[in-house]
């Protein structure tokens, strides 16, 4: 047998053994060392090359290199194959129940009324309105008189008031911020565009639809040419943003002492889509806010030239919005802070 034949046989036997190997370590220890190790058969055979005639050496040399490469390639391939099998087996054994609950992570919830106020604030800031806050303990003067509600005005009966003294009260509405800002605003520096969210108080017994404490957002725009059409557009934008485009909005005549004309805005009942149900008292509409063109008396009392300036104002109740939007049927839920209630809002 020639050296070449020896090498061929070593390779064929080696490849067969590699093919049958099942353990990487054993394969490397036995087959690899046996063939390619320092004292391995192929190494040994290669040493025999120097005994060959000079002209044959290159040929046999390159053949033997090829055989060594073949074996090494087979070893590498088998090793990868065996490792993959081993890894897959390990991974299979590591399987977990992915349906077990995740760990508890600290997560608080915003209050739904605050979320609505923030949403409204962001919307109006986007339209260039300032957001201002006013005192909750208010003077009769701002809460009523400067809002065109002199003492003994019948509309005062619409709002039962918590008085602190004869002239100091818990504000019943955020409207006094109209008077306060009108009084301060410097119209030479541009229009007044502001909203004012806040807490208001009424002398009501708490029940599912009444709370002695609730929220309002007041808004006012005064400039040289602000129209009722602007009010309509603004309210439509606001209500569509809050409740969705698919609902209709209607304006109805109403009465507030501090606006003339006054309107109330209704939105299609969400519950019945306008067909009529308990929620909308079978009218198909839900009243959501009051608004109007600022009454000239309000402007005059705040020292604004009512001939040159005018505009609109509106007031809305985030509590009511939240009740309507989420079907909350008891306003007290907003103030009792049951965690099971609060944590439903994100």
């Amino acid at each position: 047998m020639s050296l070449k034949d020896d090498l061929t046989k070593l390779r064929d036997d080696g490849l067969k053994n590699i093919e049958n190997a099942t353990n990487v370590k054993k394969m490397n220890d036995e087959i690899k060392v046996h063939l390619l190790g320092k004292k391995g058969l192929i190494t040994k055979a290669l040493r025999g090359i120097k005994d060959l005639p000079v002209e044959e050496r290159p040929k046999v040399g390159s053949y033997s290199n090829k055989i060594r490469d073949d074996i090494q390639t087979a070893l590498d391939k088998k090793q990868e194959e065996l490792e993959t099998i081993a890894l897959n087996k390990k991974l299979a054994s590591e399987k977990i129940d992915v349906t077990l609950p995740g760990d508890s992570v600290a997560k608080g919830h915003p209050h739904v009324i605050q979320s609505i106020i923030d949403e409204i604030s962001d919307m109006f800031m986007g339209m260039g309105y300032e957001v201002l806050s006013g005192p909750e303990v208010e003077e009769d003067k701002y809460n009523f008189e400067m809002m065109n509600l002199p003492k003994n005005h019948p509309a005062r009966d619409m709002q039962d008031t918590f008085y602190i003294t004869k002239d100091i009260l818990m504000r019943t509405q955020t409207s006094p911020m109209q008077a306060r800002t009108l009084e301060k605003h410097d119209f030479s520096k541009g229009p007044l565009k502001m909203i004012s969210p806040g807490v208001v108080y009424r002398r009501d017994t708490d029940d599912p639809t009444h709370s002695h404490q609730f929220h309002q957002v007041e808004g006012i725009v005064i400039d040289k040419h602000i129209t009722m059409a602007d009010l309509k557009g603004t309210l439509e934008y606001l209500l569509h943003q809050l409740f969705g485009d698919k609902y209709d909005i209607r304006l109805r005549p109403s009465y507030f002492p501090f606006t003339e004309p006054s309107v109330e805005a209704d939105v299609t009942c969400f519950k019945c889509n306008g067909k009529g149900c308990e929620v909308c008292k079978h009218t198909g509409w839900i009243e959501v806010l009051g608004a109007g063109m600022v009454h000239p008396n309000v402007l005059k009392m705040a020292g604004v030239d009512a001939e040159s300036y005018g505009g609109f104002a509106f007031g809305l109740g985030p509590d009511r919005f939240a009740m309507l939007k989420y079907g909350v049927d008891d306003i007290r839920d907003f103030y009792l802070n049951d965690v099971r209630f609060l944590s439903q809002f994100n």
């Binding site: 077990l100 508890s104 600290a106 997560k107 608080g108 915003p110 209050h111 605050q114 923030d118 109006f124 800031m125 986007g126 339209m127 260039g128 309105y129 957001v131 303990v137 019948p154 509309a155 009966d157 918590f162 008085y163 602190i164 003294t165 002239d167 100091i168 541009g190 229009p191 807490v199 002398r203 017994t205 002695h212 404490q213 725009v221 400039d223 602000i226 129209t227 009722m228 059409a229 602007d230 557009g233 603004t234 439509e236 304006l251 005549p253 109403s254 009465y255 003339e260 004309p261 079978h282 009218t283 063109m293 005018g310 505009g311 103030y335 009792l336 802070n337 965690v339 099971r340 609060l342």
Partner: protein, 803 residues
């Protein structure tokens, strides 16, 4: 006010479905509370005639009636009504009928006798008991003789009408009448008003002024008119009139009283009728009441009066002016001579009196909102003529005017430019003139200006803005364009304090706390707890309950109330924060308190829930401290916060409470609620902090900055010391930080131990120190020197032992 559609149609030609009409009224005039169809939901209720009547053998009050309902055979019905009578036409609910309150009538046996239906009283088919006339209150109702047997009953008793219940705003008192409603509808639909013009046909030759004199305070009654109708015959009103009243929710009483109520519905003008013969003397006065006077009203309530009340009086009060009459002078079946009163009472005085005595009537409601001051004579004419027609009364020639105000139409000028300017419309002069004329306002056009004459029936209109509203609502809000304001550019942003508040909310929610909104009005006791500064109370002058009488001076008690509410509902893990105002008064006489924004947290139970592989940890001081630290760091106070133990809060655990200081300013406190307080609130162990957000807003905050990350490696060393247990972490840190040299970057406490192998009175504290030179590789030698120095100084300051 409930407006009858049938009645409306007598004065205006309308032929549209009632729901459509209601929607139109709502979009153009006033709110519609509901549309009522009295016969809706009723079924198989017909006219029957009682053919025969026999006593029930087993009952002393039941009768067995054979009732003709238009079928071949009469129907046998057992009836218990006391007034059941042979020959009468009655309301029969047949078997299978549906009567009021959705009750179904079935064939049944009553004490053994078959009954195939029910004879009905008015309230059984839907009229509230309080509008059913007295004579029909305790029995079945008898229909008119001409009612056709077998027909549905509805048309005979007005149940075929449709009623629009108007919710009238305070400015539109005119809509509390048919008269006002019709004029508005006339404008809305552009149809003429066919209002009748009733005049007294015949007078008796007698004089009111001969029979009575009056003495009127015109501050109380701007106009006060009386007219006498003699020799009336008191009877029930004719059915048409009764129907009008009961459909409007008013109980028919007798012809004279019904006339006054009918005219109030028709014109919006409340009237009163006195029995002339029951007056003491022959002079009546309109005046303030005197202290000590009393009156028993028609509702049979005895009312004590004082000088703020206004009355009509002879030698005693005989009516609360504009509110309700007295029973002593009321019209009864024996009345012969009637004194009518038609007046304009002062709205404010009426309102105050009605509120004070809590007597709100149809009359007071109208006087409070105002009435048509120009319409009194017409109403008086109607009343007298009707008294003649319905009660054979003899009408006196004259009306006695105790006071009289000459109401004049108001003239308001407005320009087309102004209207279009305010509404954002492009209306033409013709359109606007048309609207005014449809409203019945006489209008002259002078160039751009309209000179509008507003009749007295629209006393709510005084200024041009009022006219703009009229144009807008008649033109239709639906027809207005929709635009957004165009002004010079303005920028919208939150004020710095508002931004801080919003950030604070977001940060605390991120840290696991849920936003609570509690009541700012609380009890005196709670208002005064957990105080961060001395303050006087702000109290309501007339609180409704003791639970809500004082403005809070802390946010913590509100949160503790919330925790108690949750605990009572078996929710034991609660982590809440509140952001809101507290109300401080530095001295007692301050008018208004300062309103200071605070932010507060309360945690009870565990912040995190236990899960299958992780047990929850109960909240403790260090957890809530971690939260306040993170929060303060996030709003710009990193490494500037100091905690100083404070045992002096009466409501806090004396050993587990600290003041929170920033740059030496006291901004709040943190710790465990005192167990006694927790017990009082009925809550478990709770940790809280309360911070004055106003102070945090005012204090200088570190600007957001950036420090490049060093590429040189850091070296870390540990040091463990045995130290007296009274020495605080802060004391030790102060020494380490002071002596650690320029390269000491960070000190971290990683162990505190005082168990086994630690002598009593001592504790073991272990710190990990990190050193780094930003500009060069740090060598061990430098670190060793720093560590030596730290150790030496610790030994010098405290009696420590290095472990």
């Amino acid at each position: 006010m409930r407006v009858s559609y049938k009645w409306l149609k007598e004065y205006i030609d309308l032929d549209i479905p009632v729901d459509e009409l209601a929607e139109k009224i709502e979009r153009s005039s006033v709110e519609v509370d509901s549309v009522i169809k009295p016969s809706e939901g009723l079924k198989k209720i017909v006219v029957g005639q009682i053919l025969s009547l026999e006593d029930h053998p087993d009952s002393d009050h039941l009768h067995i009636c054979q009732v003709d309902v238009g079928d071949d055979e009469p129907v046998q019905i057992v009836c218990g009504a006391p007034n059941v009578e042979k020959g009468k036409k009655v309301i029969v609910a047949l078997s299978g009928a549906r009567i009021a309150n959705n009750i179904k009538i079935k064939k049944s046996k009553m004490r053994g006798i078959q009954s195939n239906g029910m004879l009905c009283a008015l309230d059984e088919i839907g009229y509230p008991k309080d509008v059913v006339p007295k004579e029909w209150a305790d029995g079945i109702y008898f229909l008119p003789k001409d009612a056709k047997v077998g027909n549905d009953v509805y048309k005979y008793i007005g149940m075929d009408d449709e009623l629009i219940d108007l919710d009238v705003t305070p400015n539109r008192g005119d809509m509390l009448s048919m008269y006002g409603t019709i004029h508005d509808l006339s404008a809305i639909y552009n149809k003429p008003v066919n209002f009748d013009n009733v005049k007294v046909q015949k007078t008796s030759g007698k004089k009111t002024a001969d029979q009575i004199s009056s003495d009127v305070d015109s501050q109380i009654a701007l106009t006060y008119k009386n007219r006498i109708v003699n020799n009336v015959e008191i009877n029930p009103s004719p059915l048409w009139l009764q129907i009008r009243l009961w459909n409007a929710g008013i109980k028919p009483i007798n012809n004279i009283i019904d006339i006054t109520n009918y005219l109030m519905l028709k014109f919006g003008q409340p009237m009163h009728a006195y029995d002339l013969d029951k007056l003491h003397g022959n002079n009546i006065s309109v005046r303030n009441a005197k202290k000590g006077e009393k009156i028993t009203t028609l509702a049979e309530d005895e009312v004590d009066l004082d000088e703020n009340d206004i009355v009509v009086a002879d030698d005693r009060p005989i009516a609360l002016a504009g509110v309700i009459g007295g029973i002593d002078t009321s019209i009864t079946n024996d009345t012969k001579n009637v004194l009518f009163e038609c007046a304009v009472f002062d709205p404010i005085k009426v309102r105050k009196m009605a509120r004070k005595h809590v007597i709100h009537t149809e009359a007071s409601q109208r006087f409070e909102r105002g009435i048509n001051r120009g319409g009194l004579d017409e109403v008086m004419e109607n009343a007298c003529q009707m008294s003649n027609e319905l009660a054979n009364g003899e009408v006196c020639d004259d009306t006695l005017n105790g006071s009289e105000f000459n109401a004049q139409p108001v003239i308001v000028n407005i320009t087309l430019t102004k209207i279009n300017h305010v509404l954002g419309t492009n209306l033409s002069s013709e359109q606007v003139k048309d609207i005014f004329e449809r409203l019945g306002f006489d209008t002259k056009v002078d160039g751009d200006t309209f000179v509008v004459t507003v009749p007295t029936r629209r006393w709510d209109i005084h200024i041009d803005a009022d006219l703009i509203e009229e144009v807008a609502r008649i033109y239709g809000y639906d027809n207005l364009p929709s635009t957004l304001p165009t002004t010079t550019m303005t920028t919208g942003k939150l004020q710095p304090k508002q931004q801080l508040i919003r950030n604070s909310r977001n940060i605390l929610e991120g840290l696991g706390l849920t936003h609570a909104i509690s009541y700012a009005l609380t009890s005196k006791d709670k208002a005064n707890m957990f105080m961060m500064q001395k303050s006087f109370e702000t109290n309501l002058s007339y609180p409704m309950t003791n639970d809500h009488e004082t403005l809070r001076m802390n946010l913590v008690t509100g949160l503790l109330d919330d925790i108690a509410y949750n605990k009572a509902r078996n929710v034991h893990d609660v982590a809440l924060y509140e952001q809101g105002r507290v109300f401080y008064k530095e001295n007692e006489n301050e008018d208004r308190p300062s309103e200071i924004e605070h932010i507060s947290v309360a945690i009870t139970g565990s912040l995190l829930r236990s899960t299958w592989n992780e047990k929850a940890k109960e909240v403790d001081f260090y957890q809530i401290k971690g939260i306040v630290d993170k929060y303060l760091e996030s709003i710009g106070f990193a490494n500037q916060v100091e905690y100083i133990a404070n045992a002096d809060y009466p409501e806090m655990h004396p050993g587990r409470t600290a003041d929170i200081m920033i740059h030496g300013h006291y901004v709040g406190f943190i710790g465990e609620v005192h167990p006694n307080i927790a017990k009082k609130f009925k809550i478990n162990t709770t940790y809280v902090f309360d911070l004055n957000l106003q102070l945090l807003s005012n204090l200088h905050k570190t600007n957001q900055s950036y420090e490049s990350i060093s590429k040189y490696p850091s070296i870390s060393r540990d040091i463990a010391i045995l130290i007296d247990e009274n020495i605080t972490n802060n004391d030790i840190l102060n020494v380490i930080n002071k002596r650690g040299g320029a390269f000491l970057k960070h000190v971290k406490l990683f162990d505190v131990y005082n168990g086994e192998h630690v002598p009593s009175g001592k504790k073991s504290m272990a710190y990990n120190l990190t050193f780094q030179n930003k500009r060069d590789t740090l060598v061990d030698d430098d670190v060793n020197k720093a560590m030596d120095k730290i150790q030496r100084n610790l030994e010098k300051e405290f009696e420590i032992e290095i472990r």
